[in-house]
Symmetry: C2
Subunit: 227 residues, 2 copies
């Protein structure tokens, strides 16, 4: 469902070029569960932004479900970002003046739900990440791990078939991490495609294969024999 | 050097009271290295904000180097926050329109350094966290782990004797985490007091003792026999 061919991403900083991604080719099948690892600055989030149709590469091609993403119109890209892909950002990106409930309900507005249906659906997803008693808190009235879970809930609320999670357990204790990874396991079991960036081997071991990035290139892809 | 007695912190949300901290009493000696653990929402960051003189408790008392913090004037509190305590925030809190260099140099402005001295000192500290080649990047031109390291560098630039680090390795791969924890070990060896909030047992094991919070209370304090 995901076909990347010779993807590169270069940032121009004055006279200096930063090669965030150099040459990444990757195939991810439907219902596959992939972990992406690599050192700080190796290009993981840059790769996730391209996969999530939030950024375009400098070179190479990205085919999603057989269609070339660079040929898609804005309206189709917006629909894909809202309905097909759920993105958990490394730095959460919550709306600071809205409650947890309103943050989670926002993707449902684009999907055309009524206000009552949005509130009920958003509350349900917040409960599934353990935040049933925090839904009327704004982000600055929540702990770091609670904000992270609001970001996770928002990514899942439209039942996307592709879940992109950038360090989803970075701020969570082991018990809460286990709850989130069990939730991802269930989503995988339901047929969805899951891609998780993590720096923790324990979290990577929930996936079927582990892609390791190094300096903007794919260093290795290992099958996880424990799954 | 740190003496907390029956500290509580309550937030009023409409008619509901949230007890972020219920009854925390704790003594931390000079040159002690303490790790704080506990589930998401158990009160760790709230405790750190009180320790860092960034927030005041609802009840109880906090004595720092023998002085009651609640009796201190604003000028003295500002001096302590700038010179005595280095704080690494869980969500970094960098200035978005300034470069890494300017973010790290800011505490040196209050400390009265010349511009040339500030730039040199800030570059030196950024190099010590592996960001020597990223100092003119703004936060949105940095990876998550790079932003985290800018926050760490900024906390250390004024050579504070008390370092409060809230999840300093949450976005770092194992090699980079090891570099940061080695840096903290060196600062500890130099006589400073280190308090680290972490959800990872590997990181907590660098400390001499581990304080575990649960629902706003201290559940246990264990000596780390491996140190
Ligand atoms: N301004 C606020 N208003 C209301 N409740 C708050 C506020 N700030 C924090 N809380 C609540 O206080 C509790 C403790 O928050 P705190 O940030 O200290 O947790 P934490 O242990 O650091 O969690 P994490 O590991 O997720 O970062 C949480 O349940 C949070 O929802
Ligand atoms: N807008 C930008 N301009 C210049 N350089 C950038 C920009 N965005 C990212 N970079 C650089 O590209 C590289 C890759 O960044 P990326 O965020 O993909 O890393 P990462 O693997 O996600 O790291 P981390 O584990 O720290 O989150 C980094 O070295 C970063 O400094
Ligand atoms: Mg990243
Ligand atoms: Mg916290």
């Amino acid at each position: 469902v995901i076909h990347l061919e010779h993807i590169s991403k270069v940032y121009q900083m004055g006279t200096v070029q930063i090669h965030a991604l150099r040459d990444v080719s990757l195939d991810i099948l439907p219902n596959q569960y992939v972990a992406i690892m690599g050192s700080s600055g190796s290009g993981k989030s840059t790769l996730m932004n391209i996969l999530g149709c939030l950024d375009s590469p400098s070179g190479g091609s990205y085919h999603l479900s057989g269609n070339d993403v660079s040929n898609m119109k804005d309206k189709e890209l917006a629909r894909i970002r809202n309905q097909e892909i759920g993105f958990v950002f490394q730095t959460f990106n919550l709306m600071p003046r809205s409650t947890a409930l309103d943050n989670v309900a926002l993707p449902l507005v684009y999907a055309g739900y009524s206000q009552k249906a949005r509130r009920n659906k958003a509350k349900e997803v917040l409960e599934s990440v353990g935040l049933g008693n925090r839904y009327n808190h704004k982000p600055n009235e929540l702990s770091g791990g609670q904000r992270q879970r609001v970001a996770i809930a928002r990514a899942l609320v439209n039942h996307p078939s592709i879940i992109l999670a950038d360090e989803p357990t970075g701020n969570l204790d082991s018990t809460t991490s286990y709850e989130i990874m069990s939730l991802f396991d269930e989503l995988h079991r339901q047929g969805n495609t899951i891609i998780v960036v993590t720096h923790e081997e324990d979290i990577a071991n929930y996936a079927q294969s582990i892609v390791r990035l190094k300096d903007g290139n794919v260093e290795s892809i290992e099958e996880n024999t424990e799954r």
